[in-house]
């Protein structure tokens, strides 16, 4: 009951944010929501299925480029975002077939390699991706369903609500998945692959499902970016971008539902604050993350949990 009330208050506060916050705060809030979606997907793979991926930025970029290409050709926000997610899902399904045959470091290295292949494609396939210039002039197209409604997305506030709605939907779906029989099956695979096989579970099938869903979450986060920034560039697919959900999740708590969300808020705010004071912000951020991860082995959310377990 207390948790539900806290969630309700949080949603109301987020819904009222445009009323009391300026444009920059909205911009930051959107980025935090995007990182939260990105990290949740990553944590389905890592915290719930036991697969550490270093290539999620590849799917983020696929979602971003997919959405951008659609919006440049057909300016409809909903089509762009959904299209970006579908393309990222298809790519992650395809690469998942190759990656999920391996585990541990082999899996991590494969995902890192595929992520960097996507980065190279974004860099070199100039005709499609715009090369190192990326794609520019992406419109923040109106949200419309022909014949039903059409909402102008030019004001930042309107787009913030779209991102918030997608984030709430993504978080809700994630909650349902991890508390469902499928979520329990993924946790079983994380805990013991051999035990899972020996109770009749097709481990590869669920790994592939987890990989694809995580790819779609990364794709959704990516697809929500171009309408905000009006541009997409190859660094979105770089491995250093893949590290962001890893760090955010470790910071918040790997084995908890809310960990990646809390971690995303902390990570982004820390980054945003430190960058104002020093050009060596990455080093400072790294030190803080290391201290926090070592100080709170179960992540920051473990402070609120009696045993540091599931929250």
């Amino acid at each position: 009951m207390k948790t539900r009330l806290a969630i309700l208050i949080l949603v109301v506060l987020l819904a009222l944010l445009p009323a009391y916050a300026g444009k920059y705060a909205l911009y930051v809030a959107i980025h935090i929501l995007l990182l939260s979606i990105f990290s949740l997907g990553f944590n389905l793979l890592f915290g719930y299925t036991g697969l550490l991926s270093f290539g999620q930025a590849g799917f983020y970029a696929v979602g971003a480029y997919g959405c951008a290409k659609i919006l440049l050709a057909y300016p409809s926000l909903l089509v762009g975002i959904v299209g970006g997610v579908v393309i990222a899902g298809a790519v992650s399904l395809l690469l998942g077939f190759l990656c999920i045959r391996h585990t541990r470091i082999y899996f991590s290295m494969l995902t890192l390699s595929f992520g960097m292949m996507i980065f190279s494609l974004a860099w070199k396939w100039r005709d499609v991706t715009g090369g190192d210039d990326g794609l520019v002039g992406i419109p923040r197209a109106p949200l419309e369903i022909p014949g039903l409604f059409k909402i102008n997305m030019a004001p930042m506030e309107n787009y913030y609500y779209v991102v918030l709605a997608f984030a709430i939907l993504a978080i809700y779906l994630f909650y349902r998945i991890v508390h469902s029989p499928m979520g329990l099956t993924m946790q079983g695979i994380r805990d013991s692959e051999t035990r899972s096989v020996c109770i009749g579970i097709s481990v590869r099938k669920y790994r592939l499902l987890s990989f694809t869903i995580a790819g779609m979450y990364a794709g959704l986060a990516g697809a929500l970016l171009p309408p905000l920034e009006s541009t997409v560039t190859p660094p979105l697919a770089h491995w250093s971008h893949s590290a962001e959900p890893v760090l955010a999740t470790l910071l918040g708590g790997v084995y908890s539902f809310s960990g990646p969300i809390v971690g995303s808020v902390l990570f982004y705010l820390l980054k945003d604050i430190i960058v104002r004071f020093t050009e060596y912000w990455q080093m400072c951020l790294g030190i803080i993350v290391v201290v926090l991860v070592m100080g709170f082995r179960g992540g920051v959310v473990s402070i609120f949990s009696r045993k540091g377990g599931q929250r």
């Binding site: 349902r176 469902s180 029989p181 329990l184 099956t185 946790q187 035990r195 096989v197 009749g200």
Partner: protein, 250 residues
């Protein structure tokens, strides 16, 4: 009595070493069977092969006269073959209840359900509760599996193995690491589950007192081969078995 599992010239080789060699066995449904033998005799390898965890290099395996030689363990579980492991193999981060619920959901083909809650799986939940009671872990249901005592973890592993509702269940040293009293209790529990659930259990066990008092049939292995098989009385009298494994005290 019908054969539940049958092998023909089964072999598994690691380089020059024959872990299992020319094993031809017919094990009967309903008989509590123990596989015994000195360390390195090939008992665990045999269980690994029969449960599908390891594929044989040669020979054939039939479950209820259907060939299963190349089937993986997940497929064999669906046919009614389950197992426990020599080294503890549970889901340590999941609660005791979830440890039992998962194999029940798997058996009922409900693991693909992505948006329904676990509580809404009434049939599976009720069955998992029942199994928890059968293996004496009702009071520990909300504890993480990995936080149980060694003995309770062994019970949990037994619970996971029977939660698939198997017709045939292999238990690889189910009482290892337990005190003598705990051993007797656990193996009597196995015997009780065998009669109540109509499951045929095949166990690997080192405690000869327990083996001879509980088993209906004993298979003795040595150096990857079947040295002898028969009723406990016959095995006890077998001079070759006494020389190689039992000694003169049994």
């Amino acid at each position: 009595m019908k054969a539940i599992i049958r092998t023909e010239s089964l072999g598994k080789y690691f380089g020059q070493m024959a872990a299992v060699h020319e094993v031809t066995l017919t094990l009967q449904e309903g008989l509590f069977t123990s596989v015994i033998g000195p360390n390195g005799a090939g008992k665990t390898t045999l269980i690994n092969i029969l449960s599908g965890y390891m594929l044989p290099d040669r020979g054939k395996i039939y479950f209820r006269e259907k060939e299963i030689t190349r089937l993986g363990p997940d497929k064999r579980v669906k046919m009614g073959i389950s197992r426990s492991f020599q080294v503890m193999n549970i889901f340590p981060r999941m609660t005791v209840f979830q440890n039992i619920l998962l194999p029940v959901l798997s058996r009922l083909n409900k693991t693909s359900s992505a948006f329904s809650s676990l509580q809404s799986q009434k049939e599976a939940v009720e069955e998992a509760e029942k199994i928890l009671g059968e293996v004496w872990l009702q009071e520990e249901k909300d504890s993480p599996g990995g936080e149980l005592s060694h003995g309770d973890q062994r019970l949990l592993e037994l619970g996971i193995a029977v939660a698939s509702n198997p017709q045939l269940c292999f238990l690889d040293e189910p009482s290892s690491g337990m005190t003598p009293i705990e051993r007797i209790k656990v193996l009597e529990l196995v015997k009780k589950l065998a009669s109540e659930r109509k499951t045929t259990f095949i166990i690997v066990e080192h405690d000869m007192d327990i083996v001879f008092s509980l088993s209906d049939w004993i298979v003795v292995m040595n150096r990857g081969e079947v040295l002898a098989e028969g009723k406990p009385g016959d095995i006890r009298e077998n001079q070759e078995v006494r020389d190689i494994y039992l000694g003169e005290e049994i």
